[in-house]
Symmetry: C2
Subunit: 418 residues, 2 copies
């Protein structure tokens, strides 16, 4: 152990930040609603920036409202950065995003308190509008931070409530003068709750995240003929729902054939006219397929499209498909992932390599610097819900691993080792 973090201080900060925009879940769970660039987001930002300033960090706010705090350091070297986001969805929990920011702050405070001499500084940041719940796309702040979208274009994005992003940013006082794209870190590490059930189910304390799955969302529209369910013989039907059932079963078979980490989901279904005694003329449904390997994902997309057309033909239907979203998989830096793994083991914590099924700011930072993520278990895999929960022990263990990974990375020279 290179530095010992103060677990109780971490937990107190998580609690205090969660009181801003506090909401209560169905069973009394305490969550938060801090949609990006609302007054609640401003209050959350003000609190975290106060903590950054109290530590004497050099705080930069950039043109899209990303906040980066760097430990003062004489070297001028690029920092090892931690970070995540503090905006939430409308029914947010206490940990999603917040943990990564407050853990980074805790690591810096512990290192400074211990007077540890570092080759390069540490930094912690939080990025604007990671959730995308108010302004699409998600991970917007980190996208702009790494130069993936011009600042002016981002400022012009309209919210679901009609507001312009740039106006809202000025209104809450968080359009700063820092550069976009921003400072390129030496390395970036994001601690985050898993938001899925795997670690808990397997009894593993730490996930060494190898990358983010590629995501493919397709809407399938099938159009047949609406007919009386009593008077129309089966042979004379063009039943769009029957075709959807066939497609659903074949999708499950394809996903099973490919095997983990392939996932496939039909989550949204609209049926017309949606009456008990009428053969459905039209169904629209979404297919969500994800894989960590772009080649595999493309092959699955191709197979799914082929079976959609084949089944629609067999049922005598017209078919159209629309791509709703498509993100290529992101691979994190295997060397940084190995450091996460080794550090967890050194602490006697069970660890497993795993992909992230959800998107994170780290996938944007991975475009510009060696990056990895650390996952801690989510009870029942629940997230985006006040019932989101990770035990105190797991929050503290994850933060301790983050601390030692960051310290290790300050001494790591990728050019030497690669």
């Amino acid at each position: 152990m290179k530095v010992s973090i103060d677990g109780q201080r971490l937990l107190r900060r998580i609690d205090e930040l969660a009181t801003i925009g506090a909401i209560v879940g169905a069973s009394g769970e305490r969550g938060s609603a801090r949609l990006a660039l609302t007054d609640e987001d401003r209050l959350g930002r003000d609190l975290v920036v106060r903590w950054m300033n109290d530590l004497g960090l050099e705080v930069t706010i950039d043109g899209i409202g990303n906040v980066i705090a760097v430990m003062p350091h004489a070297s001028g070297h690029a920092p090892v950065m931690a970070g995540s986001h503090i905006d939430t969805v409308a029914t947010g929990g206490r940990f999603d995003g917040n943990l990564g920011v407050l853990a980074g702050l805790e690591v810096i405070e512990s290192v400074m308190a211990a007077g540890i001499d570092l080759e390069r500084p540490l930094a912690v940041g939080f990025f604007t509008d990671e959730e995308g719940a108010r302004f699409a796309p998600d991970m917007l702040g980190s996208l702009v931070y790494v130069g993936g979208m011009p600042l002016e274009q981002a400022l012009d994005i309209a919210a679901v409530d009609g507001a312009r992003l740039g106006d809202e940013l000025i209104a809450i006082g968080y359009q700063g003068g820092g550069p976009c794209p921003g400072l390129v870190p030496h390395a970036f590490v994001e601690l985050h709750i898993e938001q899925g059930p795997v670690l808990e189910a397997e009894g593993v304390r730490i996930g060494a995240v190898t990358g983010v799955q590629g995501i493919s969302w397709t809407r399938v529209n099938l159009v047949g003929q609406s007919n009386h369910a009593g008077t129309t013989p089966m042979s004379m039907r063009r039943d769009s729902a029957a075709a959807m059932f066939d497609i659903g079963v074949r999708l499950a078979e394809i996903v099973a054939e490919v095997g983990p980490p392939q996932v496939g989901t039909i989550g949204r279904i609209e049926v017309t006219p949606n009456l008990v005694n009428v053969v459905p003329s039209r169904v629209s449904f979404t297919i969500d397929v994800r894989h960590t390997d772009e080649m595999v994902l493309r092959s699955v997309e191709d197979r799914v499209h082929a079976i959609v057309r084949e089944i629609a033909d067999r049922h005598g239907l017209m078919v159209s498909t629309e791509t709703l979203a498509r993100f290529e998989p992101v691979a994190f830096d295997d060397r940084v992932v190995s450091i996460v793994e080794a550090t967890a083991r050194a602490h006697g914590l069970s660890v497993q390599r795993m992909p992230s099924g959800a998107g994170h700011d780290a996938q944007m930072l991975a475009r510009v610097c060696p990056t990895a993520m650390i996952f801690t278990p989510s009870v029942n895999g629940i997230s985006h819900n006040p019932a989101e929960f990770t035990s105190d022990d797991d929050l503290i263990a994850g933060t301790q691993v983050l601390a030692d990974v960051m310290l290790e990375l300050t001494e790591w020279n990728p050019k030497e080792r690669s």
Copy 2:
């Protein structure tokens, strides 16, 4: 041919009745909206009753508003009755119900004009609220007519718009003093458009309807777990939509194994939370299965329930089912069906025996007297829509068959032949 009907007079009456509550379809088709016991229904009734009175028929209005017109006849024998309904759904066509009533009237006028001497009188009736679109259940007037529901209970039924049936009946002036249950006919024959695609597709002019399918409607509720579509491995899901797809495919297999006239339809589907990136926690969907044989229908219901439970178990779901509707099949009188068949053949019209997939007043009359139905083709199987269409030739051919079947039945003595 025993009597020659006046096809043009029939068509003129269909046209004139259709002007009451006239509506226009998506492509300019002329339909009608005469919901039961509305002002439009009253105007339609007034017109048909005027035609009945003009012919000198003895018109009886009963306590539920059924109107029965009997040809004056010295014998006092029970009449051979035709009939159907003149109420429509909100988006009704010109033929559904109206054809059977106006064809019966045409037969009586032609027979009277020809001065044919009959052993027993003819009659034509129209029954209140066949559609059930305003007051549930459907076929209400004919149900009360045959003693299947006490009059007082029927008068207390509330409309979808909140009105009480008895009040609405008085308001339009159609609560009469005729008895309920009403006069039992010697035999009953209903001419009706098919409302399905079979006759047109097979190029057959006349359907000799053997009975009405039994109907079983079930709602299936599957409850699993809502999970993130990216972070939840397939093996850890309890996906209610995936189970529905399996059930839909198995239902189609069972229906195919049983073969015609078995039909099965999943027409209504509700998904929760219905989001592209969330594994559905809950689906509710309806299963509509119909068969003409009660034993077969029960066996299909049992098989469907078994596979629903088996598939729900396999997916780790809770399952509940509700019976939304259940009607036993009705078999028409085979001797009367044979007379329909023979009469069509005698006119050189192609004919086929077939069940009705939809409910009709005739199935209520079948409880008290020998009954059958005659179907004429529906173009594209469309009904309950202004685009509902049957060619003039088919309307006239069907009415001519009705005429000769009715005359044949006046001489028919079921006791002698059975």
